[in-house]
Symmetry: C2
Subunit: 440 residues, 2 copies
């Protein structure tokens, strides 16, 4: 079993430092794996039994084959244990233990690196949370629950941030394909994980929280050929942030300009917040990538139309000019006080038929690639019918990227559900639409 | 009864254009007022009864005193009706009808202006949604429900945007003191409303959606002396936005630079989104205004600490250097691998006692004014106890502005409730904290 297959598909897993004591990392990891349904081998120098499971003093005491070892014992004992893993023929190891480079313990770090090399052991970590495969429910981490499966992979250089993201995903019922906490990246680096995920049929989009890349050249070599979208939240961009990152992972955050150059050259999407990271991932999977920056806006509300125009211009999208013959046609169909311009303001008293009229007339026109439909709940507004009309329009106009901004609350709950079920992305405000869509 | 008292405290209200027909604005307004518990006088040229209520052909046919008239009849009949209001001694009128300046009908607009002046009638609108007083539940608008009472007033130059905001407030159980849709601002301008709200005991903060100010000098004269915080979402900032605004309300959006200059000079807070508008309003009411830009961050998560540092620097806040004697004290109390720096990383395995230790040591120190406490849910983390410790710290440090960023989902639900009940504002991400707090 190669390294990544072991991480995500191991059938027999040793937990070195498995424990009976509540609150111990080794206890959590052991229990998580039991719940995953794999064969778990507890190893603990002081204990004969972990619950009803026979425990081994050393990994070498166990006679069978082991796919993956997870180490959660004090740092000073880790190198010797890795050596034993090597002797036992285990070449895939997750080291959860901390106390290496991140606390400035260079000596122990170097020793660990040497031991891994000599014994041909590949390591994720140390100082990491572990990995979760949300598809087969293999939880090789010390986070207690497995989010549902979805096609977004998330790689995090911060374990705590990983925990926050997983916990939020549980609450919001959002999912991942694989979650990987990389820790100190002693030998497994970002680029190797990206290479693996690029050929992983369960992953469509790769999201990353990055403080620093250690092997820039390898990273570039890999991302050059990566076909799946890559979205990165790069921390340590500012002077204070870089200082904080250095005391966090002990690594240099590097110049923001260099990173931005790389991101731009290789079409890596760069974001500022976790919300942006996962909104963008969702958008990439559900919406078409726009063919141009030209936006056509249809709205029943003047104010939000103005805000949308501001936001588009602010984020580099273009409010496309309406062709004269289209204006002439809309003049025939819309009330005389329509905006006569883009945004196409169908006026507050519009029912769904007026939206439908506009959709008919902008169908298969090439003056725009992105359609934004804004709706506010006036008395006569028909949110559900309008949502259905948008879905119909989207089906008939497969070359257009279609988004909505249904602004309101109570009266839009049903319509928003309809949009979501049909993979139309709705933004709360025009500003969010422009901010996110412009990233594509 | 003066004009604003009539708008918000009328006891006897005439609805000119009251109707029996479902979906008509005059029907909604009439029913809203009935539900408000005021005495409603329907006026309709074609109908003798509106439900069980005797209707009058003309306003002058009614014999009693009327505090406020709301007009929702076709535009061309509005000037004559305003004249009749004047004759009848009604000097406070809301004109909901549209079809004036906003559709380029300058002639009708001028006539209406003249009639108002001649007859000494003050008008809100035309082309507006009306007003809602959330305290006494007087709904003089065509929005069907009244949000709960809170101390934020909202003035909107876009009726549809107003509807969106009200509908969302209902869903999120958020409230307002007064909602005012200004429409075309034929004679009642922003500055007059601000002047009124400034002395309104039910309003603490004034939020506005503005496309254009008509009377800049008057506006400046008033805001110079306004003691209550003013937050403005100014639309039409970009070229495309200004163009859209001009076709929306027929008014010039004006130069962004001029607006920014005014906003800055008079401490008006300027925002980009509705979310920012109301988040900031909430913050102003609940959090202390920071005395300096110096931030002290306490976190159990390195990554979010880095993100917070980036965000602070990005938005002009300062990560304060830790005094040497404080570092020495923290060295005694925290594990050796704490960050030795600001952000104060108490390390992922921190329970609430470690946070409490830091709070004790930064209490009554003057190297910072803003405390940001970050928490991610690790296995041993104690979110509720930590929340309580923050509340205690805040009570003991009344000169500090205290915020939290509890990042996660399921495991933080209770802690977030505790924070909210004690008026500590929690941000989902450090970026949001810096973006909003820097506005103060």
């Amino acid at each position: 079993m190669n390294f990544f297959d072991a991480l995500f598909d191991a059938k027999i897993v040793a937990v070195i430092g498995a424990s009976n004591k509540k609150g111990k990392v080794g206890t959590t990891v052991f229990n998580n794996l039991l719940r995953s349904g794999v064969n778990v081998i507890p190893v603990n120098i002081n204990t004969k039994w972990i619950g009803v499971h026979k425990s081994y003093e050393k990994i070498t005491d166990y006679q069978g084959v082991i796919d993956l070892a997870i180490i959660c014992i004090p740092a000073q004992f880790v190198p010797r244990t890795v050596e034993e893993c090597g002797h036992k023929g285990i070449h895939s190891v997750i080291i959860i233990s901390s106390g290496f480079a991140e606390v400035g313990n260079k000596e122990l770090n170097d020793e660990l690196e040497r031991v891994c090399k000599t014994n041909n052991v590949e390591v994720l970590g140390p100082n990491c949370l572990g990995v979760i495969n949300c598809k087969n429910k293999l939880n090789a981490s010390f986070f207690k629950k497995v989010p549902k499966y979805d096609t977004t992979a998330f790689i995090s250089q911060s374990g705590a941030l990983g925990t926050a993201v997983l916990d939020k995903a549980l609450l919001k019922n959002e999912g991942f394909s694989k979650f990987i906490s990389v820790g100190n990246m002693l030998n497994t680096q970002f680029h190797e994980i990206i290479e693996y995920l690029n050929q992983d049929p369960e992953t469509e989009v790769i999201c990353m929280y990055v403080e620093s890349l250690k092997k820039g050249r390898d990273f570039i070599r890999v991302v050059k050929h990566t076909k799946k979208p890559l979205i990165i939240l790069k921390a340590g961009r500012s002077e204070s942030g870089a200082k904080a990152a250095s005391s966090h992972t002990g690594s240099l955050a590097g110049s923001s300009k260099v990173y931005d150059g790389i991101f731009k050259q290789f079409n890596i999407l760069s974001v500022n917040t976790l919300d942006e990271l996962f909104s963008l991932a969702k958008m990439i999977k559900t919406a078409k990538k726009p063919e141009s920056k030209n936006v056509c806006i249809v709205t029943n509300a003047g104010g939000p139309g103005v805000l949308a125009s501001d936001a588009c211009e602010n984020f580099g999208l273009t409010i496309a000019a309406l062709p004269e013959n289209l204006k002439a046609k809309l003049n025939e169909k819309l009330p005389s006080n329509w905006s006569h311009n883009n945004p196409i303001d169908v006026i507050g008293d519009a029912m769904s038929d007026r939206y439908i009229e506009v959709f008919k007339n902008v169908s298969n026109k090439d003056f725009y690639s992105i359609l934004l439909c804004i709706l506010t709940p006036q008395d006569m507004t028909e949110p559900e019918q309008t949502a259905n009309a948008i879905i119909h329009f989207e089906k008939e106009n497969k070359d257009k990227s279609v988004f909505t901004c249904f602004m309101g609350g109570e009266r839009l709950i049903e319509a928003k559900k309809i949009l979501e079920q049909n993979n139309i992305i709705n933004f709360e405000e025009p500003y969010d639409f422009a901010r996110i869509v412009s990233k594509l």
